[in-house]
Amino acid sequence: MTAGVDLGQPQAQAIRSDEDVVRVRQLVRTVSVAVKLSLVDQTKVVTAASELARNTLVYGGGGMVEVATVDNGRRRGVRIVFADSGPGIVDLDLALTDGYTTGGGLGLGLSGARRLVDEFDIQTAVGEGTRITVTKWSR
């Protein structure tokens, strides 16, 4: 499946349904394999992407995901941006706490995803939306 993906260009995927979350997982998997992440690191970043894509859908009311390869001269990696124009997160510290949820889930999505990646950045404004950027580097 790697053949169809042009890794020079960031890959965009809209998130409007359950099936789109599956597509995000597959896209992140393809790019992670291409930048030669280890199997464990692939599994971690795909799992993180699954959690964050679901959050974009459930809490953000849908949005966009962009998957790109990155290169810092020494290592390659995969960078994923999740953006929505939803209600935003009122208390970010609380939202990043294990077990806290407003949606009836396990409350592990955001906090767990942060543990599974190397870099995690979150920008959120109440009433405007949320933008989360994560990066996983090859070892």
Binding site: R29, Q42, S50, L106, S111
Partner: protein
Amino acid sequence: MERVPILKIGDILLVSIQVDMSDQTAVQLQDDLAERIVATGCHGVIIDITALDIVDSFVGRMLSTIASISKVLDAETVVVGMRPAVAITLVELGLSLNGIRTALNVERGMELIAAAHADERELAFEDEPDTETTASS
């Protein structure tokens, strides 16, 4: 929406998840399994996740829920075939899969269910106050 098939083998329901499940497919499987447990009276459920390359919090919760539902319906659930990378990721994610029995493969899962069922029968006999001895003497 794809649907995960449920196979009946003797006293056991076997589910081998072969697709990247959408959340809806996962919830459907939960409902289907509950119905099949009641319809068949099976005492064991084996969920084979050999083909799953990730288990996120949603699927993890589904597995826990299935285990709880089947317990209430007098069936034991065993999750088998978890990949090492999936196990490592689950722990780091913070998911403990509480209440879920696991085994390395389907064969061991079947042994586990058979053993659990045998234990239960023994217990049931012990509870009955000496009916057999009285009958034979």
